[in-house]
């Protein structure tokens, strides 16, 4: 017989064993679950505004020392001689950036090829002096949501393709270079865990990133507006303009001021309009808007200093249709290229509209674009070339057309099924 003391010990021992075995059941479950676990990763959180900027209040951001005053402002090229565009392969997963002489586009040269998420070719912006090309690239592994919000990367290279490097990530939309080409603005949407209003599930952040050093400045953060559309810098890069629409559908233009780091209301846009395009003038003093309200479409021009909005064209609109206007600024900001798709059997018209005259007057057509399926996608800063897209052709080709010329010159493609898109212009 065992002494009572031994009974107690064995009971404790067996008890411990049973407890241990019981306790190891969840451990075994954990191990079983670990068969699924390949690696442990921490979701890369978006840096909060306070991590990016030196001050905590987004509307009181002080300019960083790297954000120097623009020293020399380069104007758009007086005359252009090359066009920059991209060509995506038929799978839409890889795009090549091409530079083509306008006199002979077939002798184009590739400067870079980039892989990206399917269906998201890079968005490009050429620096004002033409020396750099910035590209918003959506990486192949981005989700459909992050591709639309904050999953992009900003890459910069010389216009000859040299020194391609990434200067920012977690970007959503590429905006404008500063006039001196020292930095460029971008925006992104950051999901909110507990939105104050269900219609605003994202915080909009507008950022500026320096070309050298990559330091970033938060210009604006907003969790209450229904939507925020960055517009661009004024001529001296002292202010950055943004359009904002509130939950009642009212638009206004806000300005971030470099000197104070604060954001202030600049102008209200009258009415509760659906504004489908915004375009800031090259000198940053006027905003061109394609707006609809009810059964009317209109082109509106907002003077940011006078805080006055003028209607420069209008057209009736059926409920099923969209605005018939497509419009671009000239490089000197004195004229607009306006296409009116026409209605009631009228063909489309494409004309130059001089806005500095009083009253403004429409000039003779820039190019023959009577077919409504041809829509301009770009106008060279020297007003000599128009790029038109045939939206009814299955492969959406782009054509170059010289002002006053009838000839449509297709932008070359390696394969007829490839997609092409305009990035910009290079010249003297």
């Amino acid at each position: 017989m065992n002494p009572p003391q031994n009974h107690w010990k064995s009971l404790v021992g067996y008890g411990l064993l049973v407890l241990t075995l019981l306790a190891t059941i969840p451990l075994g479950y954990q191990f079983a679950r670990r068969q699924l676990v390949v690696v442990t990763q921490t979701p890369a959180p978006l840096p909060s505004p306070s991590l990016i900027v030196s001050t905590s209040q987004p509307t009181e951001v002080q300019p960083r020392v790297t954000e120097t005053e623009p020293a020399s402002i380069q104007a758009s090229p007086a005359s252009v001689d090359r066009v920059v565009y991209l060509e995506s392969d038929p799978t839409f997963t890889s795009s090549t950036i091409w530079i083509a002489p306008l006199v002979e586009p077939a002798s184009r040269q590739a400067v870079a090829t980039l892989e990206h998420r399917q269906g998201y070719p890079p968005i490009g912006k050429i620096s004002p002096d033409g020396s750099q090309i910035a590209l918003l690239v959506i990486p192949p592994a981005a989700t459909e949501q992050s591709a639309r919000t904050n999953g992009g990367e900003i890459w910069v290279m010389g216009s000859d393709g040299a020194n391609l490097r990434k200067i920012a990530d977690q970007a959503g939309q590429l905006n404008r270079w500063t006039p001196d080409g020292a930095s460029l603005a971008y925006s992104r949407l950051v999901p909110l865990e507990t939105p104050a209003d269900p219609n605003v599930p994202f915080r909009t952040e507008v950022m500026s990133v320096a070309l050298e050093g990559g330091s970033q400045t938060l210009l604006y953060a907003d969790e209450t507006a229904y939507g925020v559309q960055p517009l661009g810098w004024d001529a001296g890069a002292n202010r950055f303009w943004m359009a904002s629409v509130d939950l009642q559908g009212q638009w206004q233009v806000l300005g971030w001021e470099r000197a104070s780091g604060k954001v202030a209301l600049q102008a209200d846009i009258p009415g509760r309009l659906l504004i489908t395009t915004f375009s800031l003038s090259p000198d940053g003093s006027q905003v061109l808007m394609n707006a609809t309200e009810g059964d009317q479409a209109a082109l509106l021009l907002l003077d940011l200093q006078a805080k006055q909005t003028d209607q420069i064209a209008s057209a009736p609109l059926s409920p099923e249709s969209t605005s018939p206007f497509t419009v671009f600024w000239s490089g000197d900001g004195r004229s607009l290229l306006v296409q009116d798709q026409g209605r009631g059997g009228q063909g489309a018209s494409l004309g130059q509209f001089t806005i500095v005259d009083d009253p403004p007057k429409s000039l003779s057509p820039v190019a023959d674009s009577s077919a409504a399926s041809f829509t301009p996608v770009g106008w060279s800063p020297d007003q000599v070339w128009v790029v038109l897209r045939d939206y009814q052709a299955s492969n959406l080709p782009l054509y170059l057309q010289k002002a006053g010329d009838q000839l449509l010159l297709p932008l070359p493609r390696a394969d007829a099924g490839n997609f092409v898109d305009l990035i910009g212009w290079l010249g003297n």
Binding site: L17, L19, F92, T322
Partner: protein, 291 residues
């Protein structure tokens, strides 16, 4: 002898207890190291012909234990009534293709590979992100099965779509989940509600033609991609269309205000899917249906 045995047993127990304590403390928990598990596994990429029944079963809530439990779906406008779970099969298929091209694994069709996981932790065919990195894990679905089961992943997509249908305020027509066009706002919200997918957002191409799978996706709000794929079924394998084309109708862009109105008329023509209607005497509540 017994005393020795008792000591051995006690020692083993103590060692096991010590081992448990040592092993259990660093087990992956989100709280422990502010990390969350990556649920990715390996598996065979199902052929489209194998996936199609899964989409249909998920839409019709016929997954049994092979999918998450689907909640009731609200139907009717202005008064809503909870009804049995349902998602139009064409919508699930088109959303799945928009998200991942129907790929659960990084592998060719029929081959084995690792789970498709985006860098921001979207998993599998329906690119499930919500709940995949939260701690503790969600109670409405099992993240590990989202990562390793195509069927479960599709079912979780149905779960999220129903969640969006039930929670996003605007309604279309009579708010009938059997009408595909009525899912416009829920589909929008599946990707991201608000300005990001408003069809009048100025970052989208205002001149865009109807999406047919050949244009840049960045020109379009998410829901127009889904509508476009539904009408232009891709041929992911063997040259066979993945589904029969359904030319769903979009509401007029001009009616989608900032933010959208609480109710829009149903655009016509409208479409049903998975079910065939027979003489709906009361079109509100799909009275007699035949599969």
């Amino acid at each position: 002898m017994l005393r020795t045995a008792n000591l051995v047993v006690g020692g083993i127990a103590a060692l096991m207890l010590l081992a448990y304590l040592l092993v259990s403390s660093p087990v992956q928990t989100c709280q422990a190291a502010a990390t969350c598990p990556n649920w990715a596994g390996t598996g065979r990429q199902r052929l489209p012909s194998e996936l199609i029944p899964m989409f249909n079963e998920a839409g019709l809530n016929q997954m049994g234990g092979e999918g998450p439990s689907l909640p009731q779906i609200n139907a009717g406008y202005p008064v809503t009534t909870p009804t049995s779970p349902y998602v139009p099969c064409i919508l699930l298929k088109a959303v799945g293709f928009t998200e991942s091209g129907w790929k659960q694994y990084r592998a060719d069709w029929g081959q084995t590979g690792e789970t498709v996981v985006s860098f921001d932790f979207g998993y599998g065919i329906m690119q499930i992100t919500s709940g995949m990195t939260t701690c503790p894990p969600p109670t409405t679905f099992d993240p590990s099965r989202v990562a390793t089961s195509s069927r479960y992943n599709i079912g979780t997509g149905a779960l999220f779509l129903i969640g969006k249908w039930n929670s996003v305020p605007p309604y279309i027509g009579e708010n009938n989940p059997r009408i595909v066009e009525d899912w416009y706002f829920a589909t929008w919200a599946y990707n991201g509600w608000g300005w990001v997918n408003n069809p009048n957002n100025s970052i989208r191409n205002a001149s865009r033609p109807t999406f047919n799978g050949t244009q840049p996706r960045s020109w379009y709000p998410y829901q127009e991609l889904v509508w476009g794929y539904a009408a232009n079924p891709p041929k992911p394998y063997d040259g066979t269309p993945a589904w029969q084309a359904v030319a769903m109708t979009l509401p007029p862009r001009s009616q989608i205000t900032n933010p959208p109105p609480l109710h829009l008329d149903r655009p016509t023509p409208y479409h049903t899917d998975c079910y065939l209607f027979i003489t709906p005497t009361n079109p509100l509540y799909f009275p007699l249906v035949v599969r």
